[in-house]
Point group: C2
Chain length 322, copies 2
């Protein structure tokens, strides 16, 4: 089959010129263009070749699906994902799918058509049934069954760590405060680790949960304050929930950390200027982002992965609330 | 010239099947693929046709250039830009070019090759000399001369408003605290408005500036505290600078707002859980984002725009610091 070089030789021009004619890009003199087009026809230069070239350019794009880029955790994640992609010459397409899960389907279709090289991020759809084993998708935080690789912080160890730190700070009856998603999310292991560690240490504990998403944060927190006035430690499933809880608690005269120790999860505060500075289980966002892209890259290249779920270690970051 | 329909007719298959062969996407039986490839060769089906189709799909993408998506102001901006693009079926490509201005050049090249339909955002390069008048670029905050439309908050009015609010809160000697960029940025009008309003009202004022970027924030703020211990109001050019100043001031025993009233610019706090809640000039981020995309859309469609710079009104948002 004729190659682009054959076309260039026959037309007596450089390969770059042929490429510009094919791609309709850059300046090519009409007379040169004619010559190239003639050579393409004479050699039956096959359009698939062109399509493939285009695809190779197109396939240097990766789609990132997130509930919302406005969320500080997700914008940090997007920052490092773009940085890691850039090292390999990949470009990032961004989709906020929060509240509009159907937006994701477009990107799955693009992936099927090879118009993006891969998809990463937090998805709402049950994509598992629609994709094959080797399709380049890496999920963050949401663990499907077998086909889709998942990268997540070590939520279970994070839960254990939070319980231990609350106890270390003096809490005798700590509570877990969270929500239960209808589909299994790795984030639910935060509660599991918390409960397991409390049981292992013989510490009295409370689990306070409602179905996700929590529609009325205020009612949810006030109900907690009413029902569990005796807890002296709170591990909230996110930093934002921890901050919201503290705001309500303070209005009832509860002092943090004197009366209640509080630990969040995420580590969204990247400067020490706004208070309270939360004690928190810090998500290893940079490592998660870079790992996600490295795994995706392996999938694109057809390199088998060792695991289905990659747990990245977390650390406790001391703030002003324990 | 043969069309994809001619190929389909000759091969006795549907147009979609030809498309799948050309694009190498989806399942096509080997025997069918052979038939299609034969028809393509017989008809000299011209690759340019394919290229054009690809390009038309590609041009539903818009590139967003930002210093860093991690910045809360920029992640809010990206959120609304993606949302507005989605209404017209456009997809967003994201580029963090902070510290790597050369990354932008790739997207300018893509635009020249029609691989993206347009570019919006905050650019570092002096793109003006490289682009023609009608090229679909909309700049945010940075005003080039004539060719490139700019959307920005009304920085000048924001500066005036900040001065008036500081005076209203009791400040007798307010200071502007900022930085001077080497290329003109619309954000520099914040100082101009501040100074103009102080002069109009006959208020004593201070301007404290250093060249941008400020390498050592701490040294910069400490020098301000040493030099200007007598000011009783501060208008900082961003919320982050205001928060950083307050942190340093508090360590010197300066109380906000009792001793010094403070106003920032941006409005990055979107919840009331972290303190101090800044009094600030709120950027109309959503309106700026939607306006940017609507103007870009007009440029893509060849509709002439009325102005070179679009100033979106700002408001003062009262917090705990005035």
């Amino acid at each position: 089959m004729a190659s682009i070089k054959d076309v260039a030789n026959l037309a007596g021009v450089a390969v770059g010129t042929v490429s510009r004619v094919i791609n309709n890009s850059g300046a090519v003199k009409p007379v040169t263009r004619k010559k190239v087009e003639k050579a393409i026809q004479e050699l039956n230069y096959f359009p698939n070749e062109v399509a493939r070239n285009f695809k190779m350019q197109k396939s240097k794009m990766v789609a990132l699906l997130l509930p919302s880029i406005w969320n500080p955790l997700f914008s940090e994640l997007a920052y490092y994902i773009e940085d890691e992609l850039d090292k390999e010459g990949f470009k990032l397409m961004l989709c906020n799918s929060g509240g509009k899960p159907e937006k994701e389907l477009y990107y799955l279709e693009m992936l099927r058509q090879n118009k993006v090289a891969g998809i990463v991020g937090i998805t709402y759809n049950d994509i598992e049934n629609n994709v094959s084993n080797d399709i380049p998708i890496v999920s963050i935080d949401r663990h499907f069954n077998k086909k889709i690789t998942c990268v997540t912080s070590d939520n279970y160890e994070g839960g254990r760590l939070a319980l231990r730190e609350l106890v270390k700070a003096g809490a005798r009856k700590p509570a877990f405060m969270g929500s239960v998603t209808s589909v299994f999310s790795e984030t639910m292991n935060r509660r599991k680790g918390f409960v397991r560690e409390a049981q292992a240490l013989g510490v009295e504990y409370v689990v306070y949960e409602e179905p996700d998403p929590i529609v009325d944060d205020n009612a949810y927190i006030n109900e907690f304050l009413n029902r569990h006035g005796d807890v002296d430690g709170v591990f909230a499933i996110t930093d934002m929930l921890a901050a919201n809880y503290m705001d309500k608690a303070r209005r009832q005269g509860i002092r943090v950390p004197e009366d209640v120790k509080v630990i969040g999860y995420d580590g969204i505060q990247d400067n020490p200027f706004f208070h309270p500075i939360l004690s928190t289980i810090r998500q290893p966002v940079e490592e998660m982002a870079r790992m996600t892209i490295r795994l995706l890259h392996n999938k694109i290249e057809g390199i088998p992965l060792e695991k289905q779920v990659y747990h990245i270690p977390v650390i406790f970051r001391q703030g002003e609330t324990t």
